[in-house]
């Protein structure tokens, strides 16, 4: 990542031969980190598929208790935030720090929207006692092992929401650096890395939405 001296002027770390080398190393490191994220979520997708294959009726009955309209709204939030993030990255590549700040703020707003919808959904679940495993107490849904569906639901969307919140923190940090207009055509690595992370978070939700909300 290299340490930064004067605003706008980035000093390449001593062990890299050139700025391009350092940028490619950081990008490759980010891709490797995303590999670990894919495998981290793969465990949850296996747990979900076990439920889907062995308790199809239960999953079908339980998914009616999830409001697919809210899921669709969240999907739109995240897709739009991906767009604004893409604008921010291309802006940083052109050194247009003003536009980076503006686009990242839009991304933050959309992310907050996502979190608000999530909080509302969770409170609705707590109210109806649609809780994981042993705590499941809902009376209308009497399908066998219904608690397991909500265990998988809460763990998947919970960990994903945690990643969204972490992403918001990182975006905030990049906004602060962009306000000190540190980014220029030959140094925009932090924005590119944050962009990769954010697009990945959106990518995970693109799979979560149909799996949990649209169980046909």
């Amino acid at each position: 990542m290299g340490s930064h001296e004067v605003a706008g002027e980035h000093q390449v770390a001593h062990h890299f031969k050139s700025a391009l080398d350092e940028f490619e190393a950081c990008k490759q490191a980010m891709w490797i980190f995303l590999v670990t994220e894919v495998l981290f979520f793969s465990g949850l997708f296996v747990a979900y598929t076990v439920l889907r294959v062995f308790e199809p009726e239960m999953v079908k009955a339980a998914h009616h208790f999830l409001d697919w309209r809210l899921g669709a709204l969240n999907t739109v939030f995240l897709i739009t935030s991906s767009l604004t993030m893409a604008f921010a990255v291309s802006a940083s590549q052109r050194g247009d720090n003003k536009r980076v700040v503006r686009q990242l703020i839009y991304t933050l707003i959309l992310a907050c929207g996502f979190c608000v919808v999530k909080i509302y959904e969770y409170s609705h679940k707590f109210h109806d006692k649609l809780l994981p495993g042993a705590h499941f107490g809902n009376t209308e849904l009497t399908a066998n092992k219904a608690g397991l569906f909500f265990s998988v639901y809460f763990v998947m969307t919970g960990i994903h929401a945690l990643h969204v919140v972490i992403g918001m923190g990182v975006i905030l940090w990049v906004i602060l650096r962009a306000r000190k207009n540190e980014f220029s055509p030959n140094y925009f690595t932090p924005v590119e890395i944050t962009g990769l992370y954010w697009h990945f978070v959106d990518l995970v939700w693109i799979y979560l939405f149909p799996l949990l909300y649209l169980v046909g």
């Binding site: 990542m1 770390a13 001593h14 062990h15 890299f16 080398d21 490619e24 190393a25 490759q28 490191a29 490797i32 980190f33 590999v35 670990t36 994220e37 495998l39 981290f40 979520f41 793969s42 465990g43 949850l44 296996v46 747990a47 076990v50 994981p132 495993g133 042993a134 705590h135 066998n144 092992k145 608690g147 397991l148 265990s151 998988v152 809460f154 763990v155």
Partner: protein, 538 residues
């Protein structure tokens, strides 16, 4: 051979800056490697004490030393500390951190700050796990099988979360090494001219990156089972305990290759140097390393042949496991091929390498008993399995670590260790190891199950022989610790290249300067090009 002129050994990475603070927030990969080494060796001592207590308790039937439930905590801590805190980070993080950048001809790893972060993530994970010692312990075994790990009233959550945190340290090390190998190789060092230790670390890092996240999700779900009761692995709530075993072993089998591949890498470095001969079949070993790293992900089911897994899955896993044995065999034969017609020097690293090859062959062959379906039914979950994995872990990774420690000790301490005590210690450890663990093979075939605090009187003599063996091996380890510390304090000055090796790290003075090289190294010929004068005696 590079500059060859004895430079004034003024500035080096040890006296580059003084004071504890300069060590604790250093970005120098060599210092981070040494800090890792100290932490790992102290946890090794703690794990070793638990091992000695286990053997003492099993000296005679009737669990004399501790009560059965206390014994369960002993073997759980022995397993958890040795696996998560010692043997996984041992060679990659301690020796790998010190050696990899210099072998690449680079000034440091790709991300020095992430490297330091990985050390502190490791320490905090270890601290969280050890916190359970002061609460009410943990007695689930290092495998945390559900539903027992959910039902037990001991503080298993702490160890689960501790191991979860330590997993990130492993990922960070792997990530650092992969990017460094991709981006920081010295000019002229193509993939075909890279030393085999780097190939081994590359394979290990690939496994660390691809397998550790699944451990993270498994431990997280197990912790949630205990805290919230989500029921995915809990049969009382409709979950499937065998599914937990699938999740756990998807990480843990590749993890045993995280342990053994670096050790094989060290042996592939040591044997050619002390035979003064190029490694036999370089491409075969490099491809075997990468092959093992990939195939290790699709064989985990051989841990679960009798756990309730379906017959078809047993067939599949047994068949694929057989293909993991082939590259391992190729490596062992290639090391023998390297010794053939060489000029063998029996310094300590070579002694450990020879010990490694013999002991690892026994470990490998007994692995075949456990990969073959019929024999595994009788032998699994008995002391046969305990003996098998100690042969490949203690015999494999640990002897590989000791070989590497002695091989690079002159380079990084600037001092030479004394050869005679090293010889004695090597023999002590090899003998003690075989006396401890060979009787356990026979105990296993006779049917003594593992994790038993108490056993039938008929098993007494073999257990006693094993306990005596554990005293011998302990003596060997203490002797190693003694003479290495002695060498640090009052050892002879080591030359820049005491073993006349050809890999890049020997081109800089020992101990190396802060920036690793006085002159930017350029790779012209291979890492094992022992031709003509270069093949001269050490």
């Amino acid at each position: 051979m590079g500059h060859g002129v004895a430079l004034a050994h003024g500035d080096n990475y040890i006296n580059h800056s003084k004071g504890l603070k300069s060590w604790l927030n250093t970005l120098d990969h060599k210092r981070i490697g040494i800090m890792y080494l100290i932490a790992i060796l102290s946890f090794f001592l703690v794990g070793g004490i638990f091992a000695m207590l286990i053997r003492l308790n099993l000296f005679s039937p009737g669990s004399t030393l501790v009560s059965p439930s206390k014994y369960n905590q002993l073997f759980t801590y022995h397993g958890a500390i040795m696996v998560f805190m010692v043997i996984i980070p041992m060679i990659p993080a301690a020796i790998g951190n010190m050696v990899l950048p210099m072998m690449l001809g680079a000034k440091d790893v790709a991300f020095p700050r992430w490297n330091l972060a990985s050390f502190y993530v490791y320490l905090s994970g270890a601290a969280i796990a050890c916190a359970s010692l002061f609460l009410n312990g943990v007695d689930t075994g290092w495998t945390f099988y559900t539903p027992y790990s959910i039902r037990t009233s001991t503080s298993a959550v702490w160890v689960l979360l501790g191991a979860f945190v330590m997993g990130f340290s492993s990922i960070l090390t792997g990530l650092n090494f992969v990017v460094s190998i991709h981006k920081l190789r010295a000019p002229g060092m193509g993939w075909g001219k890279m030393p085999l230790f780097l190939w081994a670390l590359y394979g290990t890092s690939v496994i660390q990156i691809l397998a550790t996240p699944v451990l993270a999700i498994t431990l997280l779900l197990a912790a949630l089972e205990r805290i919230v009761g989500i029921g995915i692995f809990d049969p009382a709530l409709g979950g499937d305990p065998v599914l937990f075993q699938h999740f756990f072993w998807f990480y843990s089998h590749p993890a045993v290759y995280i342990m053994i591949l670096p050790a094989m890498g060290v042996i592939s470095e040591v044997v050619p140097v002390f035979s003064r001969k190029p490694i036999f079949g370089y491409t075969a070993i490099a491809m075997a390393t990468f092959g093992i790293a990939l195939v290790s992900f699709v064989v985990w089911g051989h841990h679960m042949f009798v756990s309730g897994q379906s017959e078809f899955a047993n067939f599949l896993f047994s068949l694929i496991t057989m293909f993991v044995a082939i590259p391992t065999g190729v490596k062992v034969f290639s090391w023998l091929g390297t010794m053939y017609k060489g000029s063998l020097h029996f310094h300590a690293p070579m002694l450990y390498a020879i010990g490694f090859i013999f002991v690892f062959t026994i470990g490998g062959m007994t692995g075949m008993f456990l990969a073959t379906l019929a024999t595994d039914v009788h032998l699994t979950d008995t002391y046969f399995v305990v003996a098998h994995f100690h042969y490949v872990m203690v015999g494999g990774s640990l002897l590989g670590f000791l070989a590497g420690l002695h091989y690079w000790f002159p380079k990084f301490s600037g001092k030479m260790y004394a050869e005679t005590p090293a010889m004695i210690a090597a023999i002590l450890i090899n003998v003690g190891f075989n006396v401890t663990f060979f009787p356990q093979f026979i105990l296993g075939v006779l049917g003594m199950p593992r994790r038993y605090a108490d056993y039938l009187p008929q098993f007494t003599t073999l257990n006693r022989v094993s306990t005596v063996g554990s005293w011998i091996i302990a003596a060997g380890f203490l002797l190693v610790l003694f003479y290495l510390i002695h060498a640090l304090l009052r050892g002879k000055k080591a030359s820049d290249n005491p073993w006349k090796a050809l890999t890049l790290e020997w081109q800089s003075p020992s101990p190396p300067p802060h920036e690793n090289f006085l002159v930017e190294p350029v790779v012209t010929d291979g890492p094992y090009d022992y031709r003509g004068a270069k093949a001269g005696p050490i």
